[in-house]
């Protein structure tokens, strides 16, 4: 095989006909994730599917991971970029631990750090193709942040990414907005289940096998993967 056909030495580009493309594009992807505030803190959910285009490629991928004691990150979009972000945060936590000055990185710090990483990469036109949810417990209350490949970031009491912005966010807003301090854990679990069910019904890149994380004053807890009951009408 002749690998020298492409006389362009800059392998940042990939040439297809006359169109110049960047090598950066999502390949193995995770679909929408959600997060919201409730009485005890933050609830996050993400399914366990990694898609390869329209192929359901890996069906037991964990897309929520903890950072420290009181923060969890969930990610959608390109999975290799997500794992790179996970690696960055693990290195960061090791460095922090090594310094041993008693300083603890909390959810707002990690949110800011990730936003800057993502914005820095978008400014080099080499983005990390992810939308992230940062859930944590800080200063006696839940912290819920969002950051994406463009470096856009915000805090909100309900967050959904990807197709979930359209499919699940309306349900979250209806059940959570204005009553963040009333929603009990049982109700929060019901809300997660309802959202993930709708996502499974209507998002062709989703899977009825997902994990839930809660972050409260006691720390984080990530469930084992589980499913919800579904009914297909006609």
């Amino acid at each position: 095989m002749n690998f020298d056909n492409n006389n362009n030495n800059n392998n940042f580009y990939e040439s297809v006909g006359n169109v110049t493309k960047q090598t950066t594009r999502p390949i193995v992807t995770g679909t929408s994730i959600i997060g919201f505030k409730y009485r005890d803190g933050i609830m996050i959910a993400a399914d366990n599917l990694a898609s390869y285009g329209s192929l359901a490629r890996f069906k037991s991928v964990e897309r929520i991971f903890p950072v420290g004691e009181f923060t969890c990150i969930a990610g959608s979009g390109d999975l290799s970029d997500f794992q790179y972000i996970k690696h960055l945060l693990e290195s960061l936590m090791i460095k922090e631990n090594y310094i041993d000055d008693g300083h603890v990185l909390t959810a707002p710090h990690i949110h800011e750090y990730l936003t800057q990483i993502l914005y820095g990469r978008r400014s080099k036109l080499n983005p990390l193709w992810n939308s992230l949810i940062i859930g944590g417990f800080h200063d006696g209350e839940g912290y819920l942040g969002y950051a994406d490949l463009l470096g856009t970031a915000h805090k909100s009491s309900t967050i959904a990414t990807g197709l979930g912005t359209q499919l699940m966010h309306p349900l979250l807003r209806k059940s959570v907005e204005g009553r963040e301090n009333e929603v009990t854990e049982e109700e929060a679990i019901e809300i997660v289940n309802d959202c993930m069910r709708v996502s499974y019904y209507r998002d062709a890149r989703s899977l009825n096998k997902f994990q839930r994380a809660k972050i409260t004053a006691k720390g984080f807890e990530i469930t084992e993967p589980y499913s919800v009951d579904v009914v297909w009408h006609e």
């Binding site: 030495n9 110049t20 594009r25 914005y119 470096g151 907005e177």
Partner: protein
Amino acid sequence: MNFVPTALEFDTYGQNGQNGGVPTSLYFDPYDNNGGTALGLSGEDYSIVASDTRQSSGFDIYSRCDQKATKLTENSVLALGGFRADGRSLTKRIIQRMEWYRHAHEKEMSFRAISQLLSVTLYSRRFFPYYAFSLLGGLDENGKGVVCSFDSVGSYHDEPSCVVGSGSALMQSFVDNQIAFHNQQVNNEPISLEKAIRIVKDSFDGVAERDIYTGDSLDIFIITRDGVTTEQYPLRKD
């Protein structure tokens, strides 16, 4: 070999100028428009900066409570429309430069100094601009209200009333008429702060009716000699 091209190296005209110099599409667009409107008014001894709190993209609402205006000093407030990530980054950069100034000179930057700083910061990215439309409101060295509006590459001017962001075309003519008395013959007595706030609320009510990217809630920053106070006002949520 440079693996990561900067904006200037990035060849938007196909490889090595091939493809007949016709621009080819980029796979990744580093910009977005997150909507939102900001209004600035200035009076004799006050100035007001108001902005809605909706953050959106396409037909989706990302957040209903995103503050687009930031208090910089006791006499200046910065509001930003356009691409939110650039706005955030720009605000951070300005705040950091202001802190350096404070350490170097043991005083706060004046309103005029901040507006000049903002202008040169924007121009420093002339060929990969901050897609942010800025509005700086505050009091000048004589305690007089001033509002400056900036384009995305640093051109700025001050006016008694100016609007930036998605609803600017709708709101500008209204505030020109009501605040700057354009096309009014007999009405030109200075507007009291209290009345100005009411006009601000009505302006946003009107724009929220017709601009889909403006709504949810309004942050009003009131800048007087006594410092900066804030007020919230609900807007349409649809």
